[in-house]
């Protein structure tokens, strides 16, 4: 990695990027560095460290919105909006994660079942382009269709289109209570389907190895009734705290971490293929997304076959560099040509996180 700069405002980020553009420097943005290893490895001249942009700029509880700087830690934003009984419905899947990094990787956890991912919660964004131009899209209201929704493009773009410096999110009310129903089963497929297609409105349906955990939140009366429905369907025990490991990734440093997606009818096949590959599995089974840890990535092609048969994909999220060098990290990506054209427009010199993303973008 190259030199590090630590700007404290959008204007400073713009100065830095204008300067970098003039000198032709390759740049990568960094929030808190918790997922800097995701995607393909990059080598750059300059790291733009956003940890100095860590403020919650505005929280309008009555409008259920919060405006934050990209370097703010997700946990700190939660603490702040929590004082008014609200939550930003994004899970902290890696401890210490920043808002910017969460947006760039579209990292999601159990709550995605009920609230979607960052793309669904982001309502306004300020970015600095590779050429140093500052641009905003969206705004401070939940409903807004004026102009293109650039927020969608930057979410999950791994910092290859522009550097996000500020973001506005819609918030959700914090529920009065949460309950978890957990049950052990060798084959969770039917149980997941029973819950997902029920009237219980599960807020999360997570698998961890052979344990299935369903979370519900809301008012005490309503939650009791829903827990009753869920236990009637799958049995299990009830807890008012989350099971261990809830909403975190299953892999350890040195292992290969995968994100596997599928349509719900494919759950059984996907889990069987992962079991056969010797993977440790955790994730949002009820939403069609699970994460897996592998000691060696040999089974990758087979897993891709199975996921593709169920309209999904397998991405190598986190792995040692030498593993990444030996496998296809992103897998097949349709519409890649169009993605390249978008990249060429936003960053014609390919100086933002070069090579990290799909197709070497």
């Amino acid at each position: 990695m190259g030199a590090v700069v630590r700007p404290t405002s959008t204007a400073e980020v713009a100065d830095v990027l204008r300067d970098a553009a003039a000198r032709g420097l390759a740049v990568v943005a960094q929030g808190r560095g918790t997922k800097q290893g995701w995607g393909l490895p990059v080598s750059v001249d300059l790291v733009v460290d956003l940890s100095g942009m860590d403020r919650v700029l505005d929280h309008q509880a009555g409008d259920l919105i919060v405006e934050v700087q990209a370097g703010a830690r997700l946990a700190e934003v939660q603490a702040r909006v929590g004082t008014e009984g609200q939550r930003l419905a994004l899970d902290e899947t890696v401890p210490g994660a920043s808002i910017g990094g969460t947006l760039a990787t579209n990292a999601s956890g159990p709550q995605r079942l009920v609230a979607g991912t960052a793309r669904d919660l982001l309502i306004g964004v300020t970015v600095v382009r590779a050429d140093g131009v500052v641009a905003k899209a969206g705004g401070r209201v939940v409903k807004n269709v004026a102009g293109y929704d650039l927020g969608k493009l930057v979410v999950g773009s791994y910092g290859t289109l522009a550097i996000v410096t500020e973001a506005v999110f819609r918030l959700h009310p914090e529920p009065e209570v949460r309950r978890w129903v957990s049950v052990a089963a060798d084959d969770v497929h039917d149980l997941v389907h029973a819950v997902v297609h029920s009237q219980a409105v599960p807020w999360a349906v997570e698998v961890d190895g052979t344990t299935l955990s369903v979370m519900v939140g809301g008012r005490p009366d309503g939650v009791d009734a829903r827990v009753g429905t869920i236990r009637g369907l799958i049995g299990g025990s009830v807890s008012d705290t989350a099971p261990e490991g809830w909403g975190t990734y299953p892999w350890q440093p040195g292992e290969t971490g995968l994100k596997v997606t599928f349509v719900l009818s494919g759950l059984r096949d996907v889990l069987a293929a992962l079991a056969e590959a010797g993977a440790r599995v955790r994730g949002s089974a009820g939403a069609g997304v699970v994460y897996a840890a592998l000691a060696v990535p040999d089974a990758l092609p087979r897993l891709r076959e199975v996921a593709a048969a169920h309209h999904g994909s397998v991405v190598v999220v986190d792995a040692p560099d030498e593993v990444k060098a030996s496998v296809d990290v992103w897998g097949p990506v349709p519409a890649l040509e169009l993605m390249r054209r978008v990249k060429d427009q936003f960053d014609p010199d390919h100086r933002l996180a070069p090579g990290r993303f799909v197709g070497g973008i």
Partner: protein, 487 residues
């Protein structure tokens, strides 16, 4: 007809059924406007493809000959998005109405773009599912139009907008390439191009197939009609409900003038003498709804509700909704002409903005009826006028524009669901800087460098796309080459 259009017509006749290529003036005129009827342009050619191949073939011909094209679904748009181009081709999706696949187990449906919104729900209901975004026009508007406008509806407060319910699409770029965007499973790797296409108002290309999420039908639905003496009181009740951590499926407000119009049109029998009514809908698990209902009833009472009516069966619910859903058309009963405005404010600014609108209306002598999605601050002021009276149209136009300025001043938006289209392009620079608009148009340049897909819409001034320099930097070229070798 320009030589380019003639060439496209020739190609279209090879590809499409004879009656699907229209160039006689009388029939072309049927398509001269969308739901915003005071903008009219007769297109040079209309084509009505039956499938994606035909549609892509026509678009390719347009690209080849540099002919502009405009997609049209059901033509209910309220911002002139489907207004034809005089020297261009109008591509109508009304023969692409197949529901290709309904997969309740996967909570997905795949539909062609011409499929009517409500038909998706009709197809899913027998399986216990429905399609959540419900614009008031849902009995006629198309899914393709919904995607283009990122349409909302009363129930989007709780369930989100079109963009939250569309997971995949087949897409024809302005160059005529057919590309799949998104996927049936979540989080397809790569840029979220679908997210950029949704809401782009047909300016990036045409969707030929749409994969949507289906949502489980709620166990219980309760609809409450609440009468208040003033919009301030009704607004305070809305704020109290939200502050109590309740997210109703819908909270809609109508003011006295809108109520008067609705009464006259559909005899909805709303509480007599109300200065405002709220239509509040709660849905979900029965026990949850029951608990929320008690709370909502109490909060309305505390904030000055003088009458509350609860509907639990579909018939009574429909009655309550009838007044609200017919509100736009109903205004025709009390005014010969009207403008349907669409603006957004932070919900907490509601009392202030309503007061300012009242003053504006009094000053200019222009009546404004108010209907809005109160839960998310999306206002639909209906600005009344009489075209036949000198100066009234201009005054109405002025008030309508001033309302948008009010929205912007309060940190809101010039459109919450009807889109920018041709109507509001000139207002967009009041909301965004030149740099913002330039950046948005980078996307346009990637998808449609020649600017032939629905030109003249959304952006007041098109960006010149220019050549993209082929310079590369850092580790990228080597890596790209390496990747190309390995895979």
């Amino acid at each position: 007809m320009t030589p380019g259009v003639r060439a496209v017509a020739t190609r279209a006749r090879e590809l499409l059924a004879p009656d699907a290529v229209i160039d006689d003036r009388a029939r072309l005129r049927t398509y001269e406007c969308d739901g915003l009827t005071h903008y009219r342009v007769v297109p040079a050619l209309v084509v009505i493809p039956e499938d994606a191949d035909q549609l892509a073939g026509v678009v390719r011909a347009c690209a080849e000959h540099g002919v502009p094209f405009v997609a049209r679904g059901s033509g209910t748009g309220l911002s002139g998005g489907a207004l034809p181009h005089a020297e261009g081709v109008l591509v109508v999706t009304s023969r692409m109405r197949a529901i290709t696949d309904v997969r309740p187990e996967d909570q997905r449906a795949v539909v062609q773009p011409g499929v009517v919104n409500l038909d998706v729900t009709r197809a899913a209901t027998p399986h216990g599912y429905y399609y959540a975004p419900d614009p008031s026009s849902q009995q006629i508007c198309s899914i393709g139009g919904n995607v283009a406008e990122n349409s909302g509806g009363a129930h989007c407060l709780k369930y989100g907008f079109t963009t939250n319910h569309v997971v995949g699409a087949d897409f024809v770029t302005a160059g005529g390439e057919v590309v799949p965007l998104g996927a049936m499973a979540p989080d397809a790797p790569g840029y979220d191009l679908l997210g950029a296409v949704v809401g782009s108002e047909g300016t990036l290309g045409i969707v030929t197939s749409v994969t949507v999420r289906l949502v489980r039908l709620p166990e219980e639905v309760r609809t409450i009609l609440v009468g208040f003496h003033s919009t301030d009181a009704a607004g305070a009740a809305v704020s109290a409900i939200i502050a109590a951590g309740i997210v109703p499926a819908a909270i809609e407000m109508m003011d006295a003038l809108a109520i008067e119009a609705a009464e006259e049109a559909v005899h909805c029998n709303y509480p007599a003498g109300a200065g405002a009514v709220l239509v509040i809908e709660l849905d979900g698990p029965a026990a949850e709804v029951a608990a929320e209902y008690d709370e909502v009833e109490r909060l309305c009472e505390v904030n000055g509700a003088f009458e509350q009516r609860l509907a639990t069966d579909p018939f009574d619910r429909a009655l309550i909704w009838k007044g609200r859903k017919s509100a736009f058309a109903a205004v025709g009963r009390i005014s010969p002409d009207y403008i349907v405005q669409d603006g957004v404010i932070p919900r907490t600014a509601l009392p202030e903005v309503l007061r300012a609108m009242g003053e504006l209306s009094a000053q200019r002598g222009v009546r404004v009826a108010n209907v809005f999605h109160a839960g998310d601050g999306n206002l639909h002021p209906l600005v009344l006028f009489d075209e036949s009276k000198a100066g009234e149209a201009e005054a109405a136009e002025e008030v309508s524009g001033a309302i948008l300025d009010l929205c912007i001043r309060h940190g809101g938006s010039i459109t919450g669901e009807h889109g920018v289209g041709v109507d509001k392009a000139r207002y967009l620079p009041r909301m965004y800087t030149e740099e913002d608009l330039d950046t948005m148009q980078l996307v346009r340049c990637a998808f449609d460098p020649d600017g032939i897909s629905n030109p003249g819409k959304v952006f007041p001034t098109p960006r010149l796309c220019g050549e993209v320099p082929g310079r590369h930097k850092g580790a990228h070229p080597a890596q790209e080459a390496g990747l190309a070798e390995v895979f």
